[in-house]
Amino acid sequence: MPDSSPRDILVLAAHPDLARSHATRTVLDALRASPAAGRVELRDLYRLYPDFHIHIDAEQHALEAARLVIMLHPIYWYSMPALQKLWLDEVPRLGWAYGPGGTALHGKDFWLVASTGGGAEAYAPGGHNHHAIEEFLLPYLQSARTCGMNYLPPQILHGAHRATDAEITAHAELFVKRLEHYPAWCENLAAPPVGDEDDVALDERPALFSTIGGAE
């Protein structure tokens, strides 16, 4: 059964230096000001755990209560900031989030909202980074899948350092709009299939969600 608690969206924000952030901070400000804020549980990881000592229980409870789990952070070295990675190492545990008996996160949605330094053109086979952004995001995809979560198409702001205020604001507003209209918009989206098709057993997924890749 889908979660019907009022705060069904969990935003995990991770920026090591929020005071100097532009994109991430704008998104957070927009989130706090929007009407969707009432259904969002915001966990600013660097503010909660400045000593990098993650409260596993608290994080797991927050995950259990949510239907949509959002990671909000700048892309550092083609990956996530360190504290977010530590969170990933410690919170989803064997037997809880994955593996035998690990069904706590099954059926939940996972959504990455990130910003990159490189421009969109850099993330192409001929570009500076030599690969499309989706290839760098494979770890996110596979991690979500391992936990039985639906990997929603990420919302990426490219070239965040050079972006104008208008572009950043547009990115933030799109994010907020999607929050407000969750889950309507993601039911119509199909994430492009990447890699092999090992899915979690179909009958474990709630019927409300459309299947990814069209598999039945």
């Binding site: 000593d51 000592h53 409260h55 545990r93 064997l94 037997g95 994955y98 593996g99 035998p100 391992t146 090992d198 899915d199 979690v200 057993a201 179909l202 009958d203």
Partner: protein, 616 residues
């Protein structure tokens, strides 16, 4: 009637002491004065309860002998050597300076030089035990003044011996001005006796005591100690030196032995009472009539005594750079005469250098100086606080007042406050640092710190420091009561202030919490955790694992602490909660450790995606 006649003496003495001394202390006049007055009252002059005889002074002298034995015992040659500069430096300056000043007055008035020297030395001595006690009362024990008085006290202890040895020598040389040879013979005998004691002591004393200690009869050990003291005293008397000198030497010989503590404890009760007896005897011997007959002379003596010593000591205090706040205590406490003086005068009288009338006058002068001390202290305090106020006021005109509107005030410039201030400064934030220890401020200012003098427990001080417009108040002082006071003041008068406080212990933590403070750090908690981490690492745990354990411990500890906050009023509930908390704590930590272990084990055995699942 003659049966229990021997009881009368001790009865009178004890009654006199028991009545007079507590009364004297209540009147803040010190026990020495109490004994003196008691002796005066029971003596032949006033109540006549004790007939004058020579037996009493002799018994009383035992008190002095024991006192000097204990003084010698408590001298630690190594410590003396370590402190040799202040002791032999400033200590000598005090004794010789005061003695010289007094001798100058005496010589100017035409007294014979031998008498002047002896009397000056006697008057220059101070009542160092009293001085140290008063200092401790005023909480000045560990200050410059405290250490200086200690050095002076130690020097006087050491100097007592040559002075006491000098008196008979001077007396003899004075008496036999023609027979110079007799004087030298006496000196030779004296030196010989001293040598015997020192060498005999080194070789025989400790083995003897060891043998006695082995017999395991404690009272015999005490008896042996008394025998030792009296024996050396007797030897000294035979040779014509003071008994006290012998006892002192014996004490010094035993100072570094393993029996020191035991000797101290065994002899301490005797010392106290016999010393009191000595003072009573002095009081008894005080010829009131003679004193009343020449009030001017006595008054002059007191004036000369106090005047010269205060002059010398005040100059010393300035030269030693003793802080203004401590100077009155230092000068006045050392200016008063002391028990050594009595000993010197008694010795001088028994050696014929001064007569009984002069002795009485001197004793009266010293006693008066003792009586005047409390008055002088208050006067000195007042003078000094006026001077201080003027100085602070003038300094305030030079130095800029604390910048108003500084958002952060730190009360306390000690180790804790300094770290906070430095961290803030490293981040470009200037805080106003307050302290009320003027010595600390002076030394910090020398290091280039901006510290303002202020007692943060006073509302007007907080206002002047800008508490009304500040945002954060850091309470970094170590005094628990004052810390709570400041927190309550802040809550009541400056509600916009966020208080960040240092807690000395859990009790303090709760009190601060009750006063509305929420950002509290127990001062030793995190340091202890770091040490615990080191220990864990040393036992072979990986450093990061140790850190994880410490962080878990820390989190649980703080949770238990917060849970116990509302239980503060109810001790039973508190105890129950504490016990439960500890249990749960240990269980929780054990459970977490197990969970982690299970996790690791499961990971190691591997886990594969269920590709043979129903979907495939």
């Amino acid at each position: 009637m003659t049966h229990g006649a021997w009881l009368q003496l001790p009865l009178v003495f004890l009654a006199a002491a028991v009545l007079a001394v507590p009364l004297a202390r209540y009147l803040r006049l010190g026990s020495i004065l109490g004994y003196l007055v008691a002796g005066l009252l029971i003596g032949p002059q006033v109540l006549g309860l004790i007939p004058s005889s020579t037996a009493i002074p002799e018994v009383a002298e035992l008190g002095v002998v024991l006192m000097l034995f204990l003084v010698g015992l408590e001298l630690e040659p190594k410590r003396l050597w370590a402190m040799r500069r202040p002791i032999f430096g400033w200590g000598s300056v005090q004794l010789l300076g005061c003695a010289a000043a007094l001798a100058a007055v005496g010589l100017a008035l035409g007294y014979p030089w031998r008498l002047t020297v002896v009397v000056s030395l006697g008057l220059a001595m101070s009542s160092t035990a009293v001085a140290l006690a008063v200092l401790a009362e005023r909480n000045l024990g560990r200050t410059t003044a405290g250490e200086s008085i200690l050095s002076v006290a130690l020097l006087q202890d050491i100097a007592a011996i040559p002075v006491l040895a000098l008196v008979p020598v001077l007396a003899l040389s004075g008496a036999h001005d023609d027979g110079g040879g007799a004087g030298w013979l006496a000196a030779g005998k004296a030196v010989g006796a001293i040598v015997v004691i020192i060498f005999g002591g080194r070789l025989l004393l400790r083995p003897a005591l060891r043998w006695i200690a082995h017999s395991k009869t404690p009272e015999i050990f005490t008896a042996a100690a008394l025998l030792l003291v009296l024996g050396t005293a007797a030897l000294m008397q035979v040779v014509g030196l003071s008994m006290a000198l012998g006892a002192f030497l014996a004490g010094v010989l035993l100072a570094e032995s393993e029996y020191r503590r035991e000797l101290e404890t065994d002899l301490e009760p005797f010392k106290g009472l016999l010393l009191g007896l000595f003072f009573i005897a002095v009081g008894m011997g005080l010829d009131l009539k003679a004193v009343a007959a020449q009030p001017g002379f006595v008054a002059g003596l007191v004036l000369a005594l106090l005047g010269c010593k205060i002059l010398v000591l005040a100059t010393m205090a300035k030269a030693m750079k003793i802080p203004l706040v401590e100077r009155p205590a230092f000068v006045i406490l050392l200016a008063q005469g002391g028990e050594f003086g009595f000993v010197v005068f008694q010795l001088a009288q028994s050696n014929g250098m001064i007569d009984a009338v002069q002795n009485s006058a001197l004793v009266a002068a010293v006693a008066l100086s003792l009586a005047l001390t409390p008055l002088l202290l208050t006067g000195g305090d007042r003078l000094m606080s006026q001077k201080l106020a003027r100085r602070v006021a003038s300094k305030r005109k030079e130095a800029p007042p604390p910048p108003p509107g500084a958002p952060i005030i730190i009360a306390g410039s000690g180790r804790y406050g300094q770290v906070v201030a430095r961290m803030l400064r490293a981040n470009g934030i200037e805080a106003t640092v307050l302290d009320h220890d003027s010595e600390a401020i002076e030394s910090l200012r020398r290091f280039g710190w901006t510290v303002y003098y202020g007692d943060a427990t006073r509302l007007d001080m907080l206002k002047t420091a800008g508490a009304a417009s500040a945002r954060i108040l850091v309470i970094a002082i170590d005094d628990i009561g004052m810390s709570i006071e400041i927190a309550e003041l802040a809550r009541e008068h400056f509600p916009q202030l966020t208080v960040v406080a240092r807690a000395r212990n859990v009790q303090h933590y709760y009190q601060l919490h009750e006063a509305g403070v929420r950002h509290i750090e127990r001062e030793t908690f995190d340091s202890a955790l770091m040490s615990a981490r080191s220990v864990l690492e040393l036992t072979g745990m990986e450093p990061h694992a140790a850190r994880r354990q410490a962080m878990r411990f820390r989190r649980h500890n703080i949770e238990v602490l917060d849970r116990m906050v509302p239980l503060q009023g109810d001790e039973n509930a508190l105890i129950a909660a504490a016990k439960l908390g500890r249990q749960q704590f240990e269980q929780l930590l054990a459970a977490e450790r197990e969970a982690e272990e299970a996790h690791r084990r499961a990971q190691r055995t591997g886990w594969d995606r269920p590709d043979a699942g129903p979907a495939a």
